[in-house]
Amino acid sequence: MRIPFHLKSALVAILLCVCILPARPAQAADIKYKRSVERYNVPDVVLINQDGKKVRLQSLLNSDVPVIVDFIYGTCTTICPVLSAGYVNLQRKLDADSKKVRLISITIDPENDSPKVMKEYLKRFRAKPGWDFLTGSRADIDTVMRAFNAYIPDKMSHYPLNLIRMPKGGSWVRLFGLMSTKEFMNEYLLATAK
C-alpha cells in the first residue's frame, strides 16, 4: 500500500519527537566531564607555598582527608578562574567542615607566580585556610605535571583538570572538564565515602 506523503511526513515528525527530542536534553543534562580512577606516583619534590614556605609535596598530599589538586596560573584568563571558583564554592559549601578537604593549586607559570602573586590570587578569590597555591623550579613543576599525566609544554595550552586523592587507598579520581558546584561536591562526597 502506498503511504500518502503527508502521512509519511507525520510519521517522520513523530519519530523525531520520540527518538531525538527527548534524547537531546537528556544528554545535554548529562555529566560533561570525564571521570576515571588512577594511581599516581607523587614525586619527592619540595615546592614553595603562597607564604614563601617550603613544602614537601609528598607530605602535603599524603593526607587522611581528601586532597584536590589542580594546575593553574596567576594571570590566567579563562579556565583557571573557573576552576578556582569551584574551589571557593566547595569551601563555602563545606563551611565549618572546610578542613575536611585539602585544596592544592600548582602553578604552571613558575616564572611569574611568586609567593606574592599566589597570595594575592588567593586573596582575590577569598580563599579560606586549607587552599594552598604552590610554585617551584620549572624542572620540579614539569616533574609534577608529568607524574599526574598532566604535562603541558606551555601554560597557554592547558586544560581543565581536577584530581581528587581518596584518603583510603590513596588512589586518585581524575576529572577532566569543568564541573558545576553540585557535581564537584558529589565527587568530593564520593571520595570521602570510599
Partner: protein
C-alpha cells in the same frame, strides 16, 4: 508504544522544565518589562557612562561601587573581584584563545554584525551546532541592545544557542546593563592612529646620552625589519599584478612600514614636550625598541598617557609597575638584579635573622635601583631591614674609612652596589669579614671588569647575572642564531646585547602580534595578542614568558661565582628563577 511516547515526553518535561523556564520564560519576562537597557541612561554624560562602563568591564565594579555578582557553570557563584569581562575578552574586547577555550569578540563593531566562523579542519559540530572542542557558534545573526542584554543575563545568543559554561551570567539591573552595553559599543570602535590597511607607522626613541656605536646597534635590526616588511609588500603587490587573488586573511599579512627616529635631547624634563611634538606631527601605531642610558620614566609615562605601545626598549632603568600597560620591557633592569640577591639570601641556609647584613650603596642611579630591588623583595620575604649606607664614589675609595665601617658593623654578608673602581680593594674588604663572610656584587654595575675580581676572593664573591647561562642553540640554519651552541662566558660581562635583544624582540614577539592583528587595528589589541603568546627561548635570556598584564618578559637572574683564570668560567649558584 503509547506509554513509551508518554514516558518520553514526561521525562522531557521533567528534565527540562526548570531549564526551559530559565532560558525562555525569564528572558521573555525581562523583554516585556525591562526595556531600559535599550537606551543609554539620559542622566549621565557620555564620558561618565564610558568611565563607569570601563570600570565594569575591566574591574568588575558596578556603578554603585559594589562588585558584580555572577554565576558560571550553572551554579558556581563568583564575584568579579576575582575576574572581570576583560580577563577573557581582553582589554581591546577582541577576545582570546586560551586553555582550549575560544573567547569571541565583545565589541559593538563585532556584536552588531552577523557572525560566521570560518570552517576549520575537524570541525565537527555538536548538538548545539558548536565546535566540539572550542565551543563557539558557527554562526549567529547580529545582536541588538536587547538581545545582548539577554545574552549577558542568561547566556544565550539571538538564536537561543547556549554559551560555553565558562561565560558568566550577569544578573544586572537595566541601568547597569545599559551602561555596560554602551561601553561595549564604544570599545575598539575607532582604529588607532598610525595604522591602516596598507601601512604601519612606527617610531623608535634614542636619547642624546647614547653612543654612536650603540645607536647603530639598535638601528641596524630595526631598519632591516622595516626593509623586510616593505620588500614583502612589494612581492605581494607583484602577485596581485599577475592576477593572484588573496584570501581574506592573506591581505592582512602584508603591510608596508615606516620608522621615524625620535631623538630626545637635553634634560629629561624636556622630553615629554619633544615627544608630543614628534607624535603630533606624525602619530605612530607603536614605538619599536629605543635606547637610553637614563631613566626611561618620562618616555614610559608619555606612552601611558597616549596609550601608545612601546615595545622592548633597551634600558637598565625601566619603570617597575604592576598595573601600567603600554610598555613591554625585557626585564626590570638593575632592580631585577637587586631582587635576585634578596631571594638568594632569603633561601641561604647558612644565614639567620641574627646574621649581620651590611648593604653599601654607591650614591648613583644604578646603586639606588639595585638597592630598591633588594629592599622590595627583602620586605616581601618578611625579613628585617638590613643596615644600609649610601656613600659617594670618593668615600668608596677611602680604604681606611671602609675598614672602620666594617669593624663597626661586623657584617657576615656584605652587599656592594658599587662600580668597578672598588674592585682592587675587594681583597682588603673581604679580609675584614669573618671566615664565613660573603660578598654580593652586580655584574651589570661592574660591567666588563667583573671578570677581574681578584682570584683570591672569588670563592667569597657572589655575582648577579641576568642573562642566559645554559647553551643557546639557534633555531635557524645560518644567520645570527644558527644552530651552534652559544655558551655564556666572562666576555659577556658589560655587553648590552643591543642588536641580539632587538632582533629577538622583533622576530620572536612583535612580529607575531603584528601578523595576528588582521584588520583589528587597535593598539590595545596588539598588546593583548602579544600577552597571550606562548613562551619563547631566546639567545640572551633563558626564557621569555607572557601572560595578561605581564610586562617584564624575562623573569630570571642567576647568582654566579667566577672560576679561576683570566677568562674564568661562570659557576652557577642559583636557579634562573628563585622564590
Amino acid at each position: 508504544m503509547k506509554d513509551l511516547i508518554r514516558n518520553k515526553f514526561k521525562h522531557f518535561f521533567r528534565v527540562n522544565f526548570g531549564h526551559a523556564l530559565l532560558t525562555v520564560m525569564i528572558p521573555l519576562l525581562f523583554s516585556t518589562f525591562g526595556h531600559a537597557e535599550s537606551v543609554p541612561p539620559n542622566d549621565l554624560s557620555h564620558a561618565e557612562i564610558m568611565r563607569l562602563g570601563e570600570r565594569m568591564y575591566r574591574e568588575g565594579i558596578l556603578p554603585s561601587g559594589k562588585v558584580m555578582e555572577t554565576f558560571i557553570r550553572g551554579d558556581v557563584a563568583v564575584d568579579s573581584s576575582a575576574f572581570s569581562c576583560s580577563s577573557c575578552h581582553l582589554r581591546a574586547g577582541l577576545g582570546s584563545f586560551e586553555g582550549g577555550v575560544v573567547t569571541p569578540p565583545t565589541t559593538g563593531n563585532k556584536l552588531y554584525k552577523p557572525y560566521r566562523r570560518p570552517p576549520s579542519f575537524g570541525d565537527v559540530a555538536d548538538r548545539a551546532g558548536r565546535h566540539r572542542r572550542t565551543k563557539t557558534a558557527v554562526e549567529r545573526p547580529p545582536y541588538t541592545r536587547e538581545t545582548l542584554a539577554t545574552a549577558l543575563r542568561f547566556g544565550t545568543d539571538p538564536t537561543g544557542q547556549v554559551f560555553n559554561d565558562v561565560m558568566p551570567r550577569y544578573p544586572l539591573t537595566d541601568r547597569d546593563m545599559s551602561i555596560l552595553i554602551s561601553y561595549l559599543e564604544a570599545l575598539s570602535s575607532e582604529p588607532s592612529p598610525g595604522a591602516s590597511s596598507k601601512q604601519f607607522k612606527f617610531a623608535t626613541i634614542i636619547t642624546d646620552d647614547v653612543s654612536q656605536e650603540d645607536r647603530q646597534a639598535l638601528l641596524l635590526p630595526l631598519q632591516t625589519f622595516i626593509a623586510q616588511k616593505n620588500q614583502q609588500m612589494g612581492m605581494f603587490n607583484d602577485f596581485i599584478k599577475f592576477g593572484y587573488s588573496p584570501t581574506i586573511d592573506m591581505q592582512f599579512a602584508f603591510r608596508s612600514a615606516t620608522l621615524d627616529i625620535w631623538e630626545l635631547k637635553g634634560p629629561p624634563e624636556s622630553w615629554p614636550g619633544q615627544l608630543a611634538a614628534y607624535y603630533n606631527a606624525n602619530p605612530v601605531f607603536a614605538v619599536l625598541g629605543g635606547i637610553s642610558n637614563s631613566d626611561w620614566r618620562p618616555i614610559h609615562e608619555f606612552c601611558e598617557a597616549q596609550r601608545l605601545p612601546c615595545l622592548f626598549p633597551i634600558t637598565d632603568f625601566p619603570v617597575v609597575s604592576e598595573t601600567d600597560w603600554y610598555t613591554y620591557y625585557f626585564n626590570k633592569g638593575y632592580t631585577q638584579e637587586g631582587e635576585a640577591v634578596a631571594r638568594y639570601l632569603n633561601r641561604l641556609e647558612t644565614i639567620s635573622t641574627e646574621t649581620p647584613v651590611l648593604q653599601i650603596i654607591q650614591d648613583s642611579q644604578v646603586g639606588k635601583a639595585l638597592a630598591a630591588g633588594f629592599r622590595k623583595v627583602w620586605k616581601e620575604c618578611e625579613q628585617q631591614e638590613v643596615t644600609t649606607l649610601t656613600l659617594s664614589s670618593q668615600q668608596l675609595l677611602d680604604q681606611a674609612a671602609l675598614d672602620k665601617l666594617l669593624t663597626k658593623h661586623k657584617p657576615e654578608v656584605l652587599i656592594l652596589w658599587t662600580d668597578a673602581e672598588l674592585l682592587p680593594n675587594l681583597p682588603a674588604l673581604v679580609a675584614k669579614l669573618p671566615a664565613n663572610g660573603i660578598v654580593f656584587v652586580s655584574s651589570g654595575y661592574l660591567g666588563k671588569k667583573t671578570a677581574t675580581i681578584p682570584e683570591n676572593v672569588r670563592d667569597r664573591v657572589y655575582i648577579t647575572y641576568p642573562y642566559r647561562l645554559t647553551p643557546y642553540v639557534g633555531s635557524k640554519v645560518g644567520g645570527f642564531d644558527a644552530k651552534v651552541p652559544i655558551l655564556a662566558s666572562s666576555k659577556d660581562f658589560g655587553n648590552r646585547r643591543i642588536t641580539s635583544r632587538s632582533i629577538a624582540m622583533l622576530q620572536q614577539t612583535t612580529l607575531q602580534g603584528l601578523n595576528l592583528i588582521y584588520d583589528n587595528l587597535y593598539r590595545d589589541h596588539l598588546l593583548d595578542i602579544m600577552s597571550m603568546q606562548m613562551d619563547v627561548t631566546v639567545r640572551d635570556y633563558e626564557r621569555f614568558s607572557f601572560g595578561p598584564g605581564q610586562r617584564y618578559v624575562s623573569k630570571g637572574c642567576y647568582i654566579i661565582q667566577l672560576g679561576p683564570g683570566l677568562d674564568p668560567p661562570l659557576l652557577q649558584r642559583s636557579n634562573w628563577v628563585m622564590y
